[in-house]
């Protein structure tokens, strides 16, 4: 970056590398718009199918429905023995508790790793990183046996309690990175004033870490809302189903083959995720860019 005063007295800077000709940039935009449309087409088609009259769904490859009616939503909502209101509520409870568990438990551990000195800290930190590498399939079966013995199968406990024990090590790592960027003078000044580690964590660390806490909260919510494997294993009674399990049941009961209702409920299940995407897009994208997340 050249200083503003410098550039006024020196020659104008050379054109930035990679500047394209007018024709080139028109072509690029045409290509990108076409690609964007291709990417979104399946999603738009699904939303469109959810408000179409049933007989029009398969007859049409266009995105514009001839008439809009929300009958499919009503049919889908009550399409199974248990309503999608119940499924959504179950998903919301599990995702909400997961967010709280992850933010609380992971920030506690991250504070210890980032700021406190105690015997074995580096060893435990290495162990924590190690748990991020291991596929969860290795712990899956004994965990299932454990929760079965505790009588927790068919409740939300197996899906929620591990989060309160900071089982998502990835978020610990994310927070440690952020905490290390907070100036130590703040802790030291607080110590001078006689604050202990708890108050420093509560009064300094957490308030200054809202961006990383928000990122962890949003990703926790989205991943839990979308999770299929966990609920599939632990929830057997339809009253406890999440929205993802509800959708799968809807597909399997395709004797009804209510495609309109299925697409309506599918669209509905994407709404919360889309909402987060719309309002916190920058946070999500920065989260991925800085940590190299997989999804």
């Amino acid at each position: 970056m050249t200083d503003a005063t410098m550039s006024s007295i020196t020659a104008p800077p050379p054109p930035p590398a990679g500047r394209r000709s007018a024709l080139g940039s028109v072509l690029i935009h045409a290509g990108l718009i076409a690609a964007s449309f291709a990417m979104l087409y399946p999603l738009l088609w699904m939303v469109s199918a959810s408000v179409r009259p049933e007989d029009e769904i398969f007859a049409s490859t266009t995105l514009w429905p001839s008439s809009v009616d929300f009958a499919s939503y009503v049919r889908g909502w009550f399409g199974l023995d248990v309503s999608f209101g119940r499924f959504s509520w179950n998903s919301l409870v599990i995702a909400g508790l997961t967010v709280i568990g992850n933010v609380v438990a992971c920030s506690l551990a991250a504070y210890a790793f980032a700021r406190l000195r105690f015997a074995g800290r580096n060893f435990w930190f290495a162990m924590m990183l190690g748990t991020m590498m291991i596929p969860y399939h290795v712990t899956l079966i004994p965990q299932y046996v454990l929760f079965l013995d505790l009588g927790w199968v068919n409740t939300i406990l197996p899906l929620v309690v591990p989060k309160f024990l900071a089982s998502d090590a990835f978020f610990i790592f994310l927070m440690v990175q952020f905490f290390r960027g907070i100036p130590r003078e703040l802790d030291e000044a607080a110590m001078m004033d006689g604050c202990g580690p708890w108050r420093i964590y509560w009064k300094i660390m957490l308030p200054l870490s809202l961006p990383v806490l928000a990122t962890a909260a949003i990703f926790s919510f989205i991943w839990t809302w979308d999770d299929f494997f966990g609920p599939l294993i632990y929830l057997n009674d339809m009253n406890t189903y999440t929205i993802q399990l509800g959708l799968r049941t809807f597909v399997d009961s395709s004797s009804t083959s209510d495609w309109g209702g299925l697409f309506a409920m599918s669209t509905l299940s994407l709404v919360p995720v889309f909402f987060f995407f719309l309002f916190f897009q920058r946070l999500l994208i920065e989260g991925i860019a800085t940590t190299g997340m997989k999804r």
């Binding site: 050379p14 930035p16 590398a17 990679g18 690609a35 964007s36 990417m39 490859t61 438990a105 506690l108 551990a109 504070y111 210890a112 406190l116 000195r117 105690f118 015997a119 800290r121 435990w124 291991i134 596929p135 399939h137 290795v138 899956l140 079966i141 004994p142 454990l146 591990p162 309160f164 024990l165 900071a166 089982s167 990175q177 952020f178 907070i182 100036p183 030291e188 110590m191 001078m192 202990g196 580690p197 961006p211 999770d227 299929f228 494997f229 993802q244 959708l247 399997d252 495609w259 697409f263 299940s269 994407l270 999500l284 920065e286 991925i288 860019a289 800085t290 190299g292 997340m293 999804r295």
Partner: protein
């Protein structure tokens, strides 16, 4: 997230520190009790939900266990059967490798291509980036798998589109030769995350390198080949390893599209789907534990191999 840096060292803080505070500082810095108090939830989880179960599953993999009777020691019998007499294991391994080999390179190529298009000051970058990222964000859900199942059905949207060009498409999802391709397309459609990571990597390349190369008369293509690609190799390597491991663990789309069967004729039987069937369909928990450990072994070997070969093509500038 902008504040995420490597540990920012407080400069000069030490010099101004008053002696009175030394005692209390030292107390905090080596406060074992406080450290372990903060770490307690994680430690309980680590022993109770990770280390304990991992050891237990290693033990279970040498037993026959159906959840009802207590585990019965069978030695290496599970592993022997997997290696020699389990056609479904061989089939699932083949499907999974095929999926990895087909989906990861295409996904990375798309991600890199689009990232390069977007990198050099395209107007509306944030809009395009958001649109391309959306499928990645939604992609893990059942809704998208349901949609895919319809798109590639015999009377689905893809065939309706083809019909307009007079092409009669097969029933993609119920044809053993094509079913895996529907899953590959679904995976490639979600190239958003690696694209964002590539974009972040491209930002790191100093523009004056390109300027110097242009002045020397290097063509755009040559610049890409000689500057962009070598400098991006660490990011390419990272994305390749992460996406490959993810592809090995893929589950939901195959489960939904095949109705949990992995069919037709095991053509979508991902490794994790087979593991699920053995554990929660047939309640062969010991056998499934052995399958889980073999998955760890495969992923471990792949990762080790990647890191060993990376020195020949990944350029870290030091």
């Amino acid at each position: 997230m902008a504040a995420v840096q490597d540990s920012a060292v407080a400069i000069g803080a030490g010099a101004r520190r008053r002696p009175a505070a030394q005692g209390r500082l030292a107390a905090l810095w080596t406060n074992h009790g406080a450290g372990y108090m903060f770490l307690l939830p994680w430690l309980v989880g680590f022993f109770g939900l990770t280390l304990g179960p991992a050891v237990a599953s290693l033990y279970l993999s040498f037993t026959s266990f159906d959840l009802i009777r207590s585990p019965e020691w069978v030695g290496a019998a599970n592993y022997v059967r997997i290696a020699t007499a389990d056609p479904k294991f061989a089939a699932s391994l083949k499907v999974t490798f095929l999926y990895v080999v087909l989906s990861v390179p295409f996904k990375l190529a798309f991600a890199l291509f689009v990232a390069i298009l977007l990198d050099r000051g395209v107007k509306g970058l944030t809009v395009y980036r958001a649109i391309f990222y959306l499928p990645s964000l939604l992609g893990g859900s059942v809704a998208i798998a349901v949609l895919w199942r319809q798109l590639f059905a015999g009377d689905g949207l893809i065939n309706s589109l083809l019909a307009q060009f007079g092409i009669e498409g097969p029933s993609w999802i119920s044809h053993p030769d094509y079913s895996i391709w529907t899953l590959v397309v679904l995976s490639v459609w979600q190239f958003g995350s690696p694209m964002i990571i590539f974009l972040a990597g491209l930002r790191q390349i100093p523009t004056d390198m390109y300027e110097a190369a242009s002045l020397d008369g290097a063509s755009k293509f040559r610049q890409f080949y000689k500057i962009t690609l070598p400098l991006l190799t660490p990011v390419i390597f990272f994305n390749a390893v992460v996406q490959t491991i993810e592809a090995f663990k893929a589950f939901t789309p195959a489960f939904i599209i095949s109705g949990g069967t992995g069919g037709p004729i095991n053509s979508t039987l991902f490794y994790t789907l087979y593991l699920y069937q053995e554990a929660f369909g047939n309640f062969r928990m010991g056998y499934a534990s052995a399958l889980a450990w073999i998955l760890v072994l495969i992923i471990g070997l792949f990762t080790a191999f990647s890191f060993l070969t990376s020195r020949y093509w990944v350029h870290y500038d030091d």
